[in-house]
């Protein structure tokens, strides 16, 4: 028997848990569960107690002595509720205390998490015997159903367009529901009920399909019930600002007792599939359906919350640890990222790339970096110190963050090399990538900026030390970024591997040989020196490119295709010498692309540019192409929110009529496009790749020249 879903029932004030039996049936269990939170009163405790006595939703209160931070115990009032209205009650107490008298704990933890933490359970747990840390575990054979809708519209579908058909696909079968709209809708609801899938997959279900289906079924008074219990958990969409970038979060449509996974918007599903989601749900103790809509950061923070729960530490509602005062020099020294060596521009051969796998998490675990261990008050004279910053690290206690991170590192290493477990490994990798960020994130409950600084300080030291060891052994360091080095020496693979072993032993964190390049090109920046993280090459027979247009989301397909073809031509070269010989053929590729664009012989699909909206239409100050596209869309009744993608084709770059500048691919207006502008985009991208070898003006002349120049003339 497996636990597959868990959610609160706010009206009955109980938890509902769904179990999956091996015979394929699922059953629901209702369980009484009293939520609780804690209050620490710095004064006016009598007012608090009086208030708590008066409100009916409080079942009882008690006095306890608990950890209110990772180190300090204090007396607190435990409040146990009848009703599931923690947030309302807690907000009222907070308000009463003027947002400072009462410190509240364990308030904003979701119900499923509370339940799982308290009962030591987790989603997809085998109820007979199981552990979230298990590497080999059985998973239930869940019944899956994919569905999609076809809407009667040759433009951008909207709610007013009627439903033409629905496509359903199970593992064995696939078919179509057609006919009258009303019939399709009732048939769909009936089918889901009878087929009884555990997982319902949609494409854009949250963003469009479900809101659309709700609208349509409402017209016929059909109640759209698709869960195992009636009712949905719905949430509105919103745009928000995060680290200088605007992000759009679509609305959410969650089912009860059945999981709705939106295959388009779910990051975790895209990256790791159901298998990865399962792994992460087990580790983070967040139900699959909810987890599929969250970020890796939320998953890691749930793991931290559980670890705090386990250690008996209360979870503050709002973080209270302020940053220590620093001098300007301290700040300058401390507030830095990883180290980067400027690359040596040009093409190189006999180059090996070596990487520390999961460097930051390994540092956290190896050097015991945690909010309560860095700058701890119990060992000011500790021998363990952060390089350069000289912060002391606790010698007596193992930190709490290292304990959260370690099992993830170990699991990921154990999954390595098994292609069947790729989904699991990918999601664990994402957890490790984000766990470091959460040390310094100001909203993270157990974050602390000094930890963040310590990790990067260790990383810089490690990279420099590795460089010194490599140079001692006669390797030339061509480039280095945070946790990777590009080393040059005319030797066999074996010698690179030996070097990795030596550095790994010396540092205590494994350094691995990513591969040997037949050749690699480091590109210059416009300042005339090597650009950071812009390179391409052939590593162990495979192409690898970073930082060029090919890898960028906002570039039209045609530009990416051209660069890919250029790379493929170059990839035929086995050595540096051959690389130079391949340049003429590569220029020929560029010529071909420019020629097709000028001739008008391209698929419009390849010209689409998608740009993320950074603000609402009325907030744009200049009339750029994005604005032109947005205005056109608005005329069609389509309104986009900041953070969403805008897609357009450049029609006439220079025209003063704003409506003429772009066309919207979904509107299928005509086949006009700005040949000159797209040629420019192609040439720019081509030059970017070849900039260490070819001058931009000459490249332009050569490619667009009517007269056939010989290569000799040209060079």
């Amino acid at each position: 028997m497996f636990l597959i879903d868990c959610y609160p029932d706010y009206t009955e004030s109980c938890m509902k848990i769904w179990f999956y039996h091996e015979n394929g049936t699922s059953v629901i269990k209702k369980e009484g569960f009293s939520p609780q939170f804690y209050v620490k009163a710095s004064r006016k405790e009598d007012v608090l107690l009086q208030y708590l006595e008066e409100i009916p939703s409080v079942r009882y209160i008690s006095y306890e002595n608990r950890f209110v931070s990772l180190r300090k115990k204090a007396p607190v009032v435990k409040v146990v509720l009848h009703e599931y209205n923690i947030r309302e009650t807690a907000s009222e107490i907070d308000r009463m205390g003027g947002y400072e008298t009462y410190e509240l704990f364990n308030v904003d933890i979701s119900f499923p998490q509370r339940y799982f933490f308290e009962k030591d359970l987790f989603p997809l747990m085998n109820m007979e015997d199981d552990s979230p840390f298990a590497v080999e575990y059985s998973v239930p054979d869940l019944k899956e159903l994919f569905f999609d809708v076809t809407v009667k519209s040759d433009r951008i579908p909207s709610y007013s367009d009627s439903l033409v058909s629905m496509e359903l696909k199970s593992r064995e079968d696939s078919f179509k529901l057609e006919g009258e709209e009303e019939e399709i809708l009732t048939d769909f609801i009936k089918f889901v009920k009878v087929f009884d899938p555990d997982i319902l997959y949609s494409y854009r279900g949250d963003e469009f399909v479900f809101p659309y289906l709700f609208y349509r079924s409402n017209l016929y008074n059909i109640p759209l019930e698709l869960g195992r219990e009636p009712g949905w958990f719905k949430r509105e969409g919103k745009s928000y600002f995060s680290y200088g970038r605007i992000v759009y979060k679509p609305p959410q449509y969650l089912l009860k007792g059945r999981m709705h996974i939106d295959t388009k918007s779910s990051f975790h599903y895209r990256e790791g599939g159901l298998e990865g989601l399962t792994e992460l749900a087990r580790m983070s103790r967040i139900p699959v359906q909810r987890l599929s809509r969250l970020s890796p950061g939320t998953a890691i923070s749930s793991m931290q919350l559980y670890e705090a729960y386990r250690r008996g530490v209360l979870i503050p509602w709002r973080k209270q640890t302020p940053e220590q005062f620093k001098t300007a020099l301290q700040l300058l020294k401390a507030d830095r990222g990883g180290h980067i060596f400027e690359p040596k521009v040009g093409v190189h051969q006999n180059v090996g790339e070596v990487d520390f796998s999961s460097l930051y998490p390994n540092i956290i675990s190896e050097f015991n970096i945690s909010p309560e261990t860095v700058l701890c008050t119990c060992c000011p004279d500790s021998q363990k110190r952060v390089p350069v910053l000289n912060y002391n690290i606790c010698e007596k206690k193992r930190g709490f963050i290292p304990d959260v991170v370690k099992p993830v590192i170990v699991k990921k290493a154990l999954y390595k090399g098994n292609p069947d477990l790729k989904g699991r490994r990918t999601l664990l990798k994402w957890i490790l990538v984000t766990c470091f960020g959460y040390l310094g994130y100001r909203n993270a409950r157990f974050g602390r900026i000094e930890c963040h600084e310590s990790v990067t300080a260790f990383a810089r030291e490690i990279l420099l030390k590795s460089m010194h060891i490599a140079e001692e052994k006669g390797f030339e360091v061509l480039h280095g970024i945070i946790d990777s080095l590009w080393l040059k020496k005319e030797v066999h693979r074996k010698e690179f591997e030996d070097l990795c072993d030596e550095i790994s032993d010396n540092i205590g964190i494994p350094l691995e040989l990513e591969g040997i390049y037949s050749w690699v090109v480091f590109l210059p920046s416009n300042l005339g020196i090597g650009a950071l993280n812009q390179y391409y090459g052939v590593i162990d027979g495979e192409l690898k490119a970073r930082g060029i247009e090919l890898r960028r989301r906002d570039q039209p397909k045609i530009v990416k295709n051209m660069q890919e073809d250029m790379l493929c031509t170059l990839a035929e070269a086995r050595t540096k010498k051959e690389f130079f010989k391949k340049i003429p053929a590569t220029l020929e590729v560029v010529k071909q692309y420019v020629y097709t664009v000028l001739k008008g012989d391209v698929t419009l699909e390849d010209l689409i540019i998608s740009v993320g909206m950074s603000r609402a239409l009325e907030d744009y100050k200049v009339n750029n192409l994005t604005v032109a596209a947005l205005k056109k869309l608005k005329k069609e009744g389509v309104e986009l929110y900041p953070g969403q993608m805008v897609r357009y084709i450049i029609r006439n770059w220079k025209t003063r009529k704003i409506a003429e500048r772009v066309s919207i691919p979904e509107l299928m207006e005509d086949t006009v496009y700005d040949k000159e502008k797209y040629t420019e985009l192609l040439l720019r991208a081509a030059h970017h790749m070849l900039s260490p070898f070819v001058d931009e003006e000459r490249l332009k002349e050569y490619i667009t020249c009517k007269r056939q120049m010989t290569l000799g003339e040209y060079l």
Partner: protein, 84 residues
Amino acid sequence: MGRTAATYRMLTESEIRKWSEFRKALRKKDREAFDELMKRVRKHASASGYMASLDVFDSMSMAILVEHEKEIAALKKKIEHVSD
């Protein structure tokens, strides 16, 4: 994620900008020499960043000295070749 203070590379760029008036008043040949020097400065931005000295100009000068030392060594080698 941590704070979002200016990186050392950005500080270096703003220091270079500070000298833009000086640069403006130079003759073309001297301007080219100036730009060449700044290229050398940027080449060692990572070392300057690692040291993170409060005086950006100090690390800039040191970067130029290092590059000059290398050039002197290279030229010396060439002269030896000629005198042989």
